[in-house]
């Protein structure tokens, strides 16, 4: 079946963290010469761990590695990986904006170009130019990085990886080794056109290189890869060779998330869908647009209703959510909260006063990690814990503050020694509960949820769902953005399907379940 020869093969790779969490469990993966190989899976499926093993950041407990059919040991550090021709372009590591292109290209490699303590600029320029020519990058070496579009910056990062491999094994010219470049979610910060540009570039240069493309954006993976591995819970659950077999997006999607009975989920959590009849519109969004991210978003949210914005990463759903809260600003929007208009560019604190709340599962962003639990819970509830309200130096009523936070802690069953405990000592799930708990007593009219349960275990997830559903039963409307379709089934009454920044279709919960089960 495999016509091409295997360049790199990892067999039976297993890795356990902290003696309990099995990140990888007997994974087999083959990389061929000159291909784009995709590794897809949900957050926590083991993609990053596998890549980190290949570049020598982690060591596996079990497994063998073959290079051109020869058994070798796993790289012990990134330098050993470079010698094998393996390099990684991280998602966030990014570029240093104030360096010139050639400075960035050779960052960390200067010693190869130094003679008597002086940089040999001519040699640097020669090598860089020939690499750029070979890879088809049309950029002056004297440009500053920040002047370039993000996609070009990514291309230069890729060129830098190739160059560092070559300089590690040779003198910088093309060598016998085929570089294997791992791209860790390379498109995350890019707009749609930039993504296409980057992929055409990668396809153009794949004749001399191999790429491992780590992603969870299905349409991109489908369009640009030669083969796909699907990882789930640390195992390879599927392998597709796109040159020989047809794969549909739906199939891939279901392989990624696994088999779930959506009906069971639904009936476990739901006690009837919120009815619109007799309820008022609490949020009306008309023609919201932000260039490069989303266009013409319009919908109505009713009292006590939850609307989900669903679609692949990069479809603009999280940007819509952030714009609704004013964290980022849309170019054009007409938003009415309970009938009163909110101007674009209104800051979050004004929106909160109008009754909009925002909760994201990213506790690092939300919490004051060195503060005690009670202060984190009271920060949005100040009007409830103030003794005397002289506008600026309102005096805190400590008793009320303590009572308020103890009430929330009890209600959410937050596991903490006391409300005095500092937040960083809590487990991930409990941190998330503190983060969502602060809205419990505030009772906003609308709560915007962005990945509310990201990175926490199943038990803690269920607790968070319970809390959110109770808030919903109490009449709080919600907008959900998440990567997990299960969450939409549990929480939402209406699901707005988005794609490439536009609304495609609106499903009811039932229709959505049917689509997912199909």
């Amino acid at each position: 079946m495999e016509s091409k020869s295997a360049l790199l093969e990892a067999r039976n790779v297993s890795k356990t963290f902290d003696n309990t969490v099995k990140a990888l469990d007997g994974v087999n993966i083959v990389v061929h010469e000159n291909e784009i190989l995709s590794v897809v899976g949900e957050n926590g499926a083991g993609k990053s761990t596998l890549m980190k093993i290949l570049v020598g950041v982690h060591q596996p407990e079990k497994g063998e590695l073959y290079y051109n059919g020869q058994k070798i040991r796993f790289p012990k550090n990134p330098l050993e990986a470079l010698k094998l021709g393996i390099s990684i372009v991280y998602q966030e590591r990014g570029v240093i904006p104030h360096l010139k292109v050639y400075q960035f290209l050779l960052l960390g490699l200067e010693e190869k170009f130094t003679r008597f303590g002086r940089l040999q600029l001519k040699k640097i320029f020669d090598v860089s130019k020939s690499v750029f020519e070979e890879l088809g990058i049309n950029v002056s070496l004297n440009t500053f990085m920040y002047e370039l579009p993000l996609s070009t910056q990514k291309m230069i990062e890729i060129a830098r990886s190739i160059l560092s491999i070559r300089l590690t094994v040779g003198n910088g010219g093309p060598s016998d080794i085929t570089p294997i470049i791992i791209l860790d979610e390379p498109t995350a910060p890019l707009s749609l056109e930039e993504r296409n540009g980057l992929f055409h570039y990668i396809q153009n240069i794949k004749k001399n290189n191999s790429f491992i493309f780590v992603s969870h954006i299905i349409p991109e993976v489908m369009r640009f890869s030669d083969r796909i591995y699907v990882l789930r819970d640390g195992k390879v659950v599927a392998h597709h060779d796109l040159s020989s077999a047809e794969v549909t997006e739906d199939l891939l999607f279901r392989e990624i998330v696994g088999r779930v009975s959506y009906y069971d989920l639904y009936s476990k959590y739901r006690y009837g869908v919120a009815e619109r009849e007799g309820k008022g519109v609490i949020l009306s969004v008309k023609k919201m647009s932000k260039k490069g991210y989303f266009q013409d978003i319009s919908f109505d949210l009713y009292e006590g209703e939850c609307i989900g914005l669903f679609g692949p990463s990069g479809c603009g759903k999280s940007e819509v959510a952030k714009s609704l809260f004013g964290v980022i600003h849309s170019d054009h929007e007409e938003i009415y909260v309970g009938g009163s208009k909110i101007k674009p560019k209104t800051a979050p604190y004004v929106r909160i006063k109008k009754g909009v709340g925002y909760f994201s599962g990213d506790t690092g962003k939300e919490l004051f990690i060195h503060w005690p639990v009670y202060k984190n819970l009271s920060i949005v509830n100040f009007e409830k814990i103030i003794k005397k309200a002289i506008k600026l130096v309102s005096i805190i009523n400590f008793k009320a503050e303590k009572e308020l936070s103890e009430k929330i802690v009890k209600k959410l069953r937050i596991r903490t020694p006391s409300v005095q405990a500092e937040c960083h000592s809590l487990s991930g799930g409990n941190k998330q509960k503190v983060s969502v708990g602060k809205w419990l007593e505030k009772s906003p009219r609308i709560l915007i949820l962005e990945d509310p349960t990201i990175g926490i275990d199943v038990g803690a997830r269920e607790d968070i769902y319970e809390v959110l559903l109770e808030m919903k039963r109490n009449g709080i409307s919600m907008i959900l953005v998440s990567d997990d379709p299960k969450e939409y089934v549990i929480l939402c009454d209406k699901i707005i399907m988005m794609s490439e920044g536009r609304i495609q279709k609106v499903y009811s919960n039932e229709e959505f379940r049917k689509v997912m089960e199909a």
């Binding site: 604190y349 994201s360 962003k365 939300e366 919490l367 600026l392 309102s394 805190i396 500092e422």
Partner: protein, 329 residues
């Protein structure tokens, strides 16, 4: 029953004391320095006049530093205290013929206005606070010298305030008494008000503060105003300490003094942790080092600033290392 109760109380007090010491490494430094100097030069260090001098210097140092602590909590820096202190005194001197004894209240008002200006420029024009407030001090220091020069006097003294120099409490110098309201008020603002909470929220996690609905720009300006106000109020104590006059020539070591007290106390320059209570401890550490070294045999007073500078450098490095642990108050 009553025994159980007292046991619980003891536990509570002990627990509180432990947290106090753990959270404030400067306390150890204070105890250590006092022990060392009492052991080496007991008769000089523990003499009444020296202890009074320590209290006086503590008042001056803490009054310079308590205000700017609020801005450092934000993660910014406010060096305008030197300017507020100097030119505020000049304003008092200028206004005395018109306002009489009330002119001393120009100090906090002027501080508040300088803080307002700093805050607005910092937030709206996004100028680094270090440069902005240093320039502010430079301008105000120059103006003070200028006022002195054109008035044809040597010092800007207002003798009418002489009554403030007499302390009603034996052994306690009046600048120290005058500093107490500022200290109490600053700690009150820090721990008991929304303002203090919001300022440290912004310093601890600006994004989180924004998401929690804090008007970040407004509270940044308010932090600068708080700083200016407390410096102005505290400058009254320094004014009295110097003999009812203000400083008319700029001395960079006075500028370092305030900053040193803040950092030695354990409010990291990155913001988010600490507060005026720590700055008080830091001020005490600074004063003890200065005072003790002065008394040591074989230490040339002319070289004192060099020693202090070197010691400070070391102390700041150690303090910043120690704070990387989980020392939070």
């Amino acid at each position: 029953m009553s025994r159980e109760f007292s046991l619980q109380q003891t536990k509570f007090v002990l627990g509180y004391a432990r947290r106090l010491v753990r959270g404030n490494p400067a306390l150890w430094a204070i105890i250590g320095l006092m022990l060392i100097f009492s052991a080496i030069v007991p008769d000089k260090f523990l003499s009444t006049s020296n202890l009074i001098a320590i209290l006086r210097n503590f008042a001056v140092t803490s009054m310079l530093a308590v205000g700017p602590t609020f801005v450092i909590l934000l993660g910014s820096i406010d060096l305008s205290y030197m300017g507020i202190w100097m030119f505020g005194g000049a304003l008092v001197w200028l206004a005395y013929p018109y306002l009489g004894l009330f002119s001393i209240f120009l100090y906090p008002i002027f501080g508040l206005l300088v803080g307002l200006f700093n805050g607005i420029v910092y937030v709206k024009a996004k100028i680094p606070s270090f440069i902005l407030t240093l320039a502010m001090t430079a301008v105000l220091a120059f103006l003070t010298t200028y006022v002195r020069n054109i008035s044809g006097v040597l010092t800007l003294t207002v003798p009418a305030y002489d009554f403030l120099r007499v302390s009603p409490v034996p052994y306690i110098p009046s600048p120290f008494l005058l500093a107490i309201p500022t200290i109490v008020l600053a700690i009150f603002v820090m721990f008991f008000t929304k303002l203090g909470t919001y300022i440290s929220a912004i310093g601890s996690n600006e994004e989180g503060a924004k998401l929690a609905g804090i008007n970040v720009a407004r509270y940044k300006i308010l932090a600068f105003m708080t700083s200016g106000f407390f410096v102005g109020l505290g400058s009254i104590a320094i004014f009295v300490h110097l003999g009812n006059q203000t400083r008319v020539d700029f001395d960079p070591s006075e500028l370092i003094r305030g900053l040193a007290a803040i950092v030695l106390g354990g409010t990291p320059l990155a913001g988010g942790l600490g507060g005026p209570h720590r700055t008080l401890l830091g001020a005490m550490v600074y004063v003890l080092i200065f005072n003790g070294l002065f008394l040591l045999p074989g230490v040339d007073p002319n070289h004192l600033k060099l020693y202090i500078g070197t010691l400070l450098l070391g102390a700041v490095i150690i303090a910043s290392k120690a704070l990387k642990g989980a020392l939070i108050a």
